[in-house]
């Protein structure tokens, strides 16, 4: 069974630009969670998508947004990039919507904002 995949592996942008990160969940998983892992801050919950809908978001500004496609893959968009957006962005998928004991993480996308 293939795991969660994310692309690109690395992304370098300049301040003010937009970044788009992609995630493909494990086959059969309908829920996708996005987390930000900034240096020294651990992982912080960003967004939760299930069945194509945004179900919840963490304490992040609206310039962090995304969507989930009919095949359950997901995209995270970060607009008006700021230096502090530099982080590892992790996607996790779950086969059981709303349950945290079935989350599997991808390898992440390293976003660097210059």
């Amino acid at each position: 069974e293939a795991g969660v995949t994310q692309s690109p592996t690395h992304l370098i942008k300049t301040r003010g630009q937009q970044a788009t990160l992609r995630c493909s969940p494990i086959s059969g998983h309908t829920s996708v969670y996005w987390y930000q892992q900034a240096l020294g801050l651990g992982l912080q919950f960003l967004l939760w998508y299930d069945e194509g809908e945004e179900r919840n978001r963490g304490n992040f500004p609206p310039r962090f947004s995304g969507r989930q496609f009919p095949n359950y893959s997901s995209e995270l968009n970060v607009n008006a990039l700021e230096l502090e957006d530099s982080a590892l962005y992790l996607c996790a998928s779950s086969r059981s919507p709303g349950r945290t004991d079935t989350q599997y993480f991808g390898p992440g996308t390293r976003l660097t904002v210059l």
Binding site: V4, S31, Y33, Y35, G40, L41, G42, L43, Q44, F45, W48, R55, N56, G58, L90, A92, S94, S96, P97, G98, R99, T100, D101, Q103, Y104, F105, G106, P107, G108
Partner: protein, 114 residues
């Protein structure tokens, strides 16, 4: 507001020794407490998890100890090996309240010296 506090931030243990990482939580609604292991360039992988109905769970060399009254839980790695060198994250959630994702500690960078 950090709801899960993890210590120490870094830890060096000799091969064969016991590694101990501690976490404390605030939200009494949490009922699922996993530990994740992350190697450089990889996403976090679930190592072991516990529910509050038991005080201890052991899987191989890894043991979680849980103290509900103190709202604390810890990870013990027995006979620590160089391959255990990684960053470890504790987390907590309401297992059926996946809307908020997992709340993570800031991580412990563990180094096992040969």
């Amino acid at each position: 507001q950090q709801q899960v506090k993890q210590s120490p931030q870094s830890l060096i243990v000799q091969k064969g020794g016991i590694s101990i990482i501690n976490c404390a939580y605030e939200n009494t609604a949490f009922d699922y407490f996993p530990w994740y292991q992350q190697f450089p360039g990889k996403g976090p992988a679930l190592l072991i998890a516990i529910r509050p109905d038991v005080s201890e769970k052991k899987e191989g060399r890894f043991t979680i100890s849980f103290n509900k009254s103190a709202k604390q839980f810890s990870l013990h790695i027995m006979d620590s090996q160089p391959g255990d060198s990684a960053t470890y994250f504790c987390a907590a959630s309401s297992i059926g309240g996946g809307a908020d994702g997992l709340t993570f500690g800031k991580g412990t960078h563990l180094i096992i010296q040969p």
